[in-house]
Amino acid sequence: MLAQILLVQCDERPNEALLEKLQQSLQYELHTCHLEHAFDALERVEPDLVLFNFVLTRDTDFSFLSSLKQSTSPLYLPFIVIANEFDEVVQQNALYAGADDFLVPPFSSALLFAKLETHLRTRHLSQRLIEKKENLAWYQERLRHEHLIVRNMFNNALSRNLQDCKQVETLLLPLSSFNGDLYLLAKGPLGSIYLLLGDFTGHGLPAAIGTLPTSQTFFAMAKRGAPIGQIAHEINQQLHKLLPENMFLCATLMELSASGNRVSWWSGGMPPALVIDADDSISQELMPQHLPLGILPPQDFEAGITMTRLEEGARVMLFTDGVIEMGIGQGKPLDYEDFYQICQQSRWNMAEIKQRLALEVMQRGINDDLSVMLLHCVPTGYAPRSTEEKLPSLPFEIRVHLTPNDIRHVDPVAQLLRGLSQLEGFPHFKARLYTALSEAYNNALDHGLLRLSSELKDTPDGFEQYYEERNRRLSSLHSGAIDITLSYQPPHRYLRVAVKDTGPGFAAQAQFTQRSTYSFGRGLLLIKELANNIRWFDQGRGIEFDFPLFDDEQVTPTNHQPVLP
């Protein structure tokens, strides 16, 4: 594109010589205007360069030049004044007023064009600078927007953290808006508390990026109640696959049992966790025993955990190395001893520790993300509670007649349970119902059809011999049958169970009071405790009981003698 040049004239008589020179050049497109129309022309022409061809004499001429120059955009627009004669003062004033150059005739076309080119080059530079600045602003805006999205994702990922957990107090102090330290908390299905305190290599966004896969794995596995070693193994595998070689996660994973008196933990590359007894003394340092997560390939990973039993009133403190690296860049590190001393002087009160650490941070400066976490080892209170389950409103009866062939090839108890589990409310009871039904069925099979004697089971070897003998007899069983009947009659909240065999029957009632064989006694005792209205029929060939479909109170095992050898 040709450079646009605007020639502003004040003389009634245009400078013919100048016009001629400019028109000779094919590199410029020339526009002219009278001084009076200069502002309009600037807007209309959008020139790349302005030539002033008039005699500057009055003060108003300079101020006009000045205001015209100021009206232009930040993009450099060169103003060149062409005077009639050389006058140093006029030239000075013109430059101060906003002119960028000054030409005094006579001058050759060559000089004029050289001047024009020089200024156009500067304009071009200015243009590129402005473009770069705009680009930079655009990238900045985009980065801000992307950070916003990522932060949102982080917040969502971490929003699965267990809230309002009274057992856990934390102090989390990230160095930037993305935390390279990771703190995860979840409860397990049996009421235990899972926690992870970790520290990714580095800090800021690159360090925090591993948060997403780690937290997803952690929460999913905690929800399933997976053991700590398995969770560590899985996270290691994920991070090993995802992270670059030089990045990894130092972490302690810990599970506090629902009872609150035991922690299972896995630790790699972290400062030792501290066990603090009720008297505020440090009773143990839980030293990390492994490499950090994400370094070893899955086949070399060591998932070995440690179980530590805790006294009543114990606490466990975990922290990242940001705590003891504080001030290290300033030559004023806070070391382990200092930190322990702060904690001890604060009597392990988190609020106080927070205040003291905040002071230390102010004095020493902070170099890394910093996290401290205190776990109070008391019963978690998350153990599942019993509820009144809604039951089906239709009555039903299931009758099963099992021949030796059926008995050999199917597991009727498991199959019945699978079927019953489809019914509303039944899944809640299936484990206990399994136990009761399994006892009745195995009684009928072992003693009714197979005529096994429980006495065999009394010795360690006999125990296995019993089951080997059982298998032997079962494979050659040709006659006999077992009948199972399950009936449910709402609104009664129980399932009536009857199991009958075609064996000789036995006077089993005596078993309730006179248990000569412990193992067998245990089986009947389980039925007795799990069900109601137990009765034998058909000379001991059949047993019937009502299995309750409601939660009774916790078993208080006081009404019977222990049946242990």
Partner: protein, 101 residues
């Protein structure tokens, strides 16, 4: 794999994870799981977190294990019991022989 084992606490602890059913169908598998257990083990831990069902033969297997591994300098823990497993253990007063939680 429904029955897995691991050593913890530097070989002083032996953990058996039982998943699914814990009844006579597991007799041999269970017995094998602690056959050849290191002498150094002081605590034997059965982790029931994944156990769905237990019956009296399961109880028998626990007693059997205790008898065969011995109680001299060894203690036995039954941990992470679901409510149903816990109930069965309570009924038979296993708390007298095992540490249950």
């Amino acid at each position: 794999m429904s029955l897995t084992t691991e050593y913890a606490n530097e070989g002083k602890q032996f953990i058996i994870h039982v998943s699914g059913r814990f009844d006579f169908s597991r007799v041999q598998e269970f017995r094998k799981s602690y056959d050849g257990m290191k002498e150094s083990v002081r605590q034997v831990v059965i982790d029931f977190r994944k156990t769905e069902y237990i019956d009296s033969s399961g109880l028998g297997m626990l007693l059997n294990m205790r008898k065969s591994l011995g109680v001299d300098g060894r203690s036995y823990y039954l941990i992470n019991c679901t409510a149903s497993v816990r109930k069965v253990l309570d009924i038979s007063r296993f708390d007298k022989l095992f540490v249950i939680d």
